[in-house]
């Protein structure tokens, strides 16, 4: 049986977690930013009309 090469396994799982975790975080932060901007612009539009 060959060596286990745990360092390669750990790095593979770490890289995957970073890439997919980072992608998920980016999507969530984007959503939060968009919601905030939409709420703000809706307020501005209401103020202009009134």
């Amino acid at each position: 049986m060959s060596e286990s090469h745990w360092e390669f396994i750990v790095v593979a799982y770490f890289v995957t977690t970073c890439v997919i975790g980072g992608m998920t975080l980016k999507i969530l932060l984007d959503y939060r930013g968009l919601k905030r901007a939409l709420d703000k612009i809706a307020g501005v539009t209401r103020d202009d009309i009134s």
Binding site: S2, F8, I9, A12, T16, V19, T45
Partner: protein, 251 residues
């Protein structure tokens, strides 16, 4: 069936579906990782290094699957002019790039101890690298063209042209002599992997697929909100101009 072409109906559908897909992803991921690390046996040749397979194969599957989803969305944009098709296509590209990067990175990390090299320019590895570059080019194209309609049509055409790479990736290991092994899961005659390894692999693949569905729905939702914001910004600017015209500021 609700008309999901309507963005408002689609958003309410996403709100209802997302908790379920996220929960299913979490359950499948926990189950898949448990089977990978505590049940799945080491390979008789590769030892524990085979555990990289449980990341590499799902990522490879998604890199192709996401491109197929984008190709269908591209047809939706060009042929059926579905209002959400270009949003679905745009939202999928970064996810496709991310999973293809994971496929390349984990393949390299698996290749070094098994083949003795990080990279070879064989047909399978090179064609997947080309797929990664196509994803990046599509993201750049979306960013480069300001008018969303034109960007969507250009990206749709490029996506359909790039789809020629999919059969090359799939059959590269049959058409050319490659260091990469031939297909061992999706092949005529059934999988060539022992059930004790196939089960965690299938569960991890299913988890990755549901993860993509979850992230894709979230990204489409963001894209719809981004367009709404763009529209409202233009509207607000027009309203300001109109008010300034009716009630000019005193000099």
């Amino acid at each position: 069936m609700p008309n999901i072409a309507n963005p408002t109906i689609f958003l309410s559908l996403v709100r209802r579906v997302l908790p379920w897909t996220a929960a299913l992803t979490t359950i499948l991921l926990i189950g898949g990782l448990y089977l990978t690390f505590f049940v799945g046996p080491p390979d008789y040749q590769q030892g524990e290094t085979v555990k990289i397979m449980y990341l590499h194969v799902p990522a490879a599957w998604l890199s192709l699957f996401i491109y197929i989803v984008m190709s269908v969305a591209a047809l939706g944009t060009l042929v059926w002019r579905h209002p959400l098709a270009d949003a679905a296509q745009k939202a999928a590209a970064p996810l496709g790039a991310a999973f293809t990067f994971v496929c390349l990175a984990t393949g390299s990390l698996w290749g070094k101890p098994m083949w003795g090299t990080w990279w070879v320019w064989d047909a399978r590895l090179t064609s997947v690298l080309v797929l990664f570059l196509i994803y990046l080019a599509l993201i750049a194209l979306w960013e480069a063209i300001e008018e969303p309609g034109r960007a969507a049509r250009a990206a749709a055409i490029m996506t359909l042209v790039g789809a020629v790479n999919l059969p090359i990736i799939k059959f590269s290991v049959d058409w050319w002599n490659t260091l990469h092994q031939p297909a061992s899961v999706f092949r005529i005659g059934g999988p060539a992997i022992a059930m004790s390894m196939l089960l965690p692999l299938l569960i991890m693949t299913l988890a990755a697929t549901f993860l993509f569905i979850t992230l894709h729905l979230m990204s489409i939702r963001n894209e719809i909100l981004r367009r709404r914001l763009r529209r409202l910004t233009i509207l607000a600017a027009e309203q300001r101009d109109a008010l300034a015209y009716i009630m000019p500021e005193p000099v």
